[in-house]
Symmetry: C2
Subunit: 720 residues, 2 copies
């Protein structure tokens, strides 16, 4: 290794190691917020076939939140359009004669849990939109640098200031050919990565021989290790993975099937009598992904083919200790042969085989997700599990969706470094729930059929077997949707005044003031009407991921209760004052609403009140005198074109006389609900004073306002 004093050195606020979904999501946040960021990957290739494919509701919500209507390029929400939206899951198992039969057919996503239902598309497309969005947000300054290999990492534990460049990472530029993943046969597959990782391959090169010009020492304020299940960063930090080491082995193929199986365009769980299980995931462009439980079939050597040589029998508890498998024996044909057996008497052939792999991954979690709040790990680097519930990519992206805005706030000097600790506390709980969920959910698809006997779709469900299944599936689907991730009390979440509902603890903690909005979870969306122009908006679309906190004031019905409008006007002076939370945490050279945005959603008919009847804080002018028209909403009424009923007060359980004040974090999670009173406003003030940095004493930096938002007439969305 070369002496660092002779090689190139550089500085960045955040260095992201690993360009998978987790790393991309972090880069997207940081690009959106204008944070100097680099993202590196040791592989030279950019687009994969295969890999992860499932997008859960919450991931699609997050994509949408980065896809504001003013962006004229193919934003992240393109995924919802291009992906196959899976409507149903069908359960197939032997009937009384032992013939494979459809036992039930239910919605794949729980109805109305989100605007978006589970959808499937290959990871390469998603990474394409990530790349394009990051490029657009950063004005081209952030793009994945590859192949760059991290060689060493050093944290200055004594760094005091949150703006110190406290982490040094030495990286080496690799040879393109060296960094290209190996292929087995002519078809792309994920076997190498799934079973061996490829760290050794990279690090076994004699790096001492490398030219000094290939090395670079990167000084970063913060570093993210998003470098997968065999994470180099995690190993450097000396963090373990805890949990079981192995699992049943599942094979995966991406094909266009030629079959007479009637539900091949629905998600299916097929439990054959004696030939194991198959999960069908219908994909974009007529493609289908099959997950096949690979098993040793002593009884039928011919059909099992090579498989028997390396597979543990799924029903054999000893399988868990059989250790690593010989990947060279896994072929697409061996996987498909197994599926053929399970799906008899239906025929299965295929064209367009584009990818295959096999998984034997443990259910494991790291006990720590960071070191010194300077270096973080996310995604597969800190939790691994089976791929059957389509969770991997989702939970990984949601990890860094949690971390990203916090890093942005800290790097900008808007919030204290302490908030970074909430990343571990909030996400380790989700990771542990994920492992518990994966244990349970696996049972649904492995081993002997535990399948309902009647169709559920038309409400015909009866019998205890059904009930048990229903309960497991329902809970599983809710968890899997990603919409119920629940963050506990911390500097960023205040559930004081909330309570669980008796017998429904898992539904979350609610304030009586907004009795249907779970505290600490993401705010679900419903329609509201713009006061200025009657345009209907999904309210979540007015809370985009642009780094801002939102204080949403629900003043109730201001027509029927004139005192409610009076109270709103009485808020004007405290909110417009220099010491107001709206002003004190906003840098002096920044737009008035670029750190905390204040929205008003009233409960009067829109035509009963006038825009200019609302106080000035809700329709502030910018430095050029341009009015903010977009912060006042009618929460009741109906839309013009479709006559859709609007009543977000009922949806959120807010009383139309009492009102409420809600704080929503930049990631859309509900931080606090307080009374619509002066006292409630003070609680909002207290919330922000717990972690935000008062900007009034800080010298205005010389830096230019970031330019990424020039299409909005230079209004930056996050300050400085």
């Amino acid at each position: 290794m070369p002496s660092t004093s002779t090689i190139k050195e550089s500085y960045t606020d955040v260095l992201i190691i690993g360009a998978g979904p987790s790393g991309y999501m972090a880069a997207l946040w940081l690009a959106r917020c204008g944070i100097p960021t680099r993202i590196i990957d040791k592989r030279s290739n950019e687009i994969f076939t295969g890999q992860a494919d499932g997008l859960q509701s919450r991931s699609l919500e997050i994509f949408k939140s980065f896809s504001e209507d003013c962006f004229d390029w193919a934003t992240m929400d393109q995924a919802w359009k291009v992906a196959n939206q899976m409507e149903e899951i069908c359960f197939w198992s032997p009937d009384e004669e032992g013939e494979l039969a459809r036992k039930s057919r239910i919605p794949d996503s729980i109805p109305n849990i989100s605007r978006f239902t589970e959808s499937v598309i290959h990871q390469g497309k998603i990474e394409k939109w990530f790349t394009e969005s990051i490029k657009n947000f950063s004005g081209g300054s952030i793009e994945v640098e590859r192949p760059l290999l991290p060689v060493s990492i050093k944290i200055d534990e004594n760094a005091k200031d949150q703006q110190d460049y406290a982490v040094e990472v030495l990286v080496r530029k690799l040879d393109d050919d060296l960094a290209r993943p190996e292929q087995y046969g002519g078809i792309a597959n994920g076997l190498y990565r799934a079973f061996d990782g490829d760290q050794d391959k990279f690090y076994n090169q004699n790096i001492d021989d490398a030219d000094k010009k290939d090395f670079e020492l990167i000084h970063a304020k913060y570093v993210l290790g998003a470098d997968g299940a065999h994470s180099w960063v995690r190993k450097q930090l000396g963090i373990d993975m805890e949990g079981e080491q192995t699992d049943f082995v599942w094979g995966v193929v991406d094909i266009v099937p030629i079959t007479d199986f009637p539900d091949v365009r629905s998600r299916c769980a097929i439990h054959s009598k004696d030939s194991g299980s198959v999960m069908i995931i219908p994909r974009e462009n007529d493609m289908v992904r099959l997950y096949i439980q690979l098993k040793e079939v002593d009884r039928d050597v011919e059909t099992a083919g090579d498989a028997r040589e390396f597979m543990g029998n799924c029903d054999d508890p000893k399988a868990k200790t059989k250790g690593r498998i010989d990947r060279s024996k896994i072929t697409p044909e061996s996987i498909i042969n197994q599926a053929r057996e399970s799906m008899k008497p239906y025929k299965l052939d295929y064209t367009n085989l584009t990818w295959y792999t096999a998984y034997q991954i443990g259910q494991r979690v790291s006990p720590n997700f960071h070191r010194h709040s300077r270096v973080f790990i996310a995604g597969d680097a800190c939790h691994t599990h089976s791929p059957k519930a389509g969770q991997g990519m989702n939970v990984s992206m949601q990890d860094t969706y949690n971390l990203g805005f916090k890093l942005a706030l800290v790097c900008k000097g808007l919030a204290k470094q302490d908030i970074l600790q909430t990343y571990e506390s909030e996400r380790i709980k989700v990771a542990r729930d994920l492992i518990a969920f994966d244990h349970k959910f696996s049972r649904l698809f492995s081993g002997k059929p535990m399948i309902p006997n009647a169709a559920m779709l038309e409400g015909e469900a009866t019998g205890s077997n059904m009930d048990e299944f229903h309960s497991v599936f329902l809970h599983g689907s809710r968890f899997a949707s990603g919409t119920i991730s629940d963050y506990d009390n911390s500097s960023l979440i205040n559930k004081v005044g909330g309570a669980t509902r008796e017998g429904h603890e898992e539904d979350g903690v609610f304030s009586p003031l907004a009795s249907k909005v779970p505290l600490g979870r993401r705010l679900f969306s419903d329609w509201a009407l713009g006061q200025i122009d009657h345009r209907p908006w999904h309210f979540a679309d007015r809370l985009p991921s642009d780094g801002r906190f939102r204080v949403v004031i629900f003043p109730g019905d201001v027509k029927q209760y004139p005192e409610n409008m009076e109270k709103l006007h009485s808020f004007n002076e405290p909110l417009m004052a220099p010491e107001s939370f709206l002003n004190r945490y906003t840098p002096r050279n920044a737009f008035f609403n670029s750190v905390i945005e204040c929205l008003v959603v009233h409960a009067s008919l829109r035509n009963d009140v006038e825009f200019y009847g609302f106080p000035e804080f809700a329709r502030r002018k910018d430095y050029r005198g341009r009015v903010d028209y977009w912060s006042i909403f009618a929460g009741v009424g109906k839309t013009h074109n479709t006559s859709t009923k609007v009543d977000i007060y009922s949806t959120y359980g807010i009383d139309k006389k009492a009102g409420a004040i809600m704080v929503v974090r930049p990631d859309g999670h509900v931080a606090q609900v307080s009374e619509y009173t002066g006292e409630g406003l003070k609680q909002v003030c207290d919330y922000f004073s717990g972690f935000m940095i008062d900007q009034r004493e800080i010298a205005v930096p010389e830096k230019d306002v970031t330019s990424y938002d020039s299409d909005r007439f230079e209004k930056p969305r996050l300050a400085v």
Copy 2:
């Protein structure tokens, strides 16, 4: 001019002259269908600010139809997302005290006339998505070539074969600087084009001196002149414009207003007491376009400024004969000053002035839209009118949306050249209606207030004045939406068996078999559920603009009436036979459904019937054995996630026992409705035999299948 024998010569199926909305739409169709096409423009610049901005419902539907879910780029439907969706139109006029007051507020688009409501965005963005879509569809082979000036055109009137290259166009490459439009002041404006055209500027150059290498002789099968109001192509063809030569003069500015006028984010018609009219069009990104009636104000020289020198008084009938105006006297300030007067007592200031112009355009139509079915004109080249109803860009795009698929069918040798004559017959009627509409609609915004006295939104409308207004506005809005363009009987439209409703002739002609579907108009969309996977689709999204005709069989309720299912099965043999219309018009090397696609929409609950219970013609296999899963729909039921009711049979007025068969053209217009019987099927056959070319005797061409659809596993959507 150089001798043609010494200059470069080239060949293309279609040459488009002029890259505005009309030319782009033609290029989009031809790119989508894989037709060798060139598009040239004499200007060197690509993106405009200002220009047209209104997108009507039908234009947005057309954009959506070119935006299939499999495309992963920013497709045309991005316009709906980025544009400002205008919800309301507000009418302001003096109240009893003579003070400006809001008199009524109604939905800007007629509710439920379309999925899309009128929206506004500047033309440059739309041209960006056109450019990107054309590039993607054509694999990069079609892009605007500029600056290229057409110099001469010659039609071989004796050309017999529709594939002959019967038109010669000599073009000259211009110097970039020469082709750049002039600017007056530092701000982009449209004055030059609006008042003078710029033909002379280009043709006054001494082209004899030009180098021969600058010239090219393009041989085309067909040529489109989409070269604007001062169309060179039209003049070469010796086609006149008929109608009035002048109009009142309106000024236009694009600004971000600084104002206390409360409805500045709605479309507004403001009639001041003595200071003329203003129309407000709220745009994307807080921008607003103002249309201001410019007038000579003898009474108040100071506030009228320069305007009095060149403007006719709007109330003066002699204004129509005053001839051309002096554009150099029109400034943004003079236009805005006039607006200020009209909007008093409200204040009006602005930032971000980005464009301005003034219009003095006649209401004129050409008597012919083509010569010899070889050279066509479209858009402003054959009809001009006032800009106030936001029709120009829309009708222009819809002209070539009509022509494009016909050119594609003829160039591919699938349909006879005769069908090209329906372009003029179908579109000249729309153009004439447009002029009549413009006359009427102008009254609403010009001259003395003829404005309702009560708010209409809450159903409070009373009084005869109101009724008259309501009727004019309602009819106008329906026409302006573009959704009621009605094409008469021709080889491509068969209304036999249809009738108008007594007293509602303007609603169109209906077959009793589908009593709510107007024949000859575009098929409006409603929900249907995919039989294979229960996925809800807006049915129009299953009829994308890919060049195909659709035969939609509505077999009724096949569960309740088993004979309906039997009948469907009895269709299998005739439809699968080589002489079937599905086969005889499809080239032998093309996919089975690439010319005519057959869809089935039944009226049974989706779970009451099985996909494989439907006959084979509705689920055909391709040459690799892959099943078409996407042609069978349940037309009744409800969606899983939103519990939206689905009942397209009621929407279309189709009896669930009798059923019906509908033919839909590639442009979404309903060509014919016939009985769900063998006789009805024969009528479908007769329809196609009237203009399609039997492919069974034609040698298979050597050409490759076009490659643009490889993402769909090489299934081309239009044959050969």
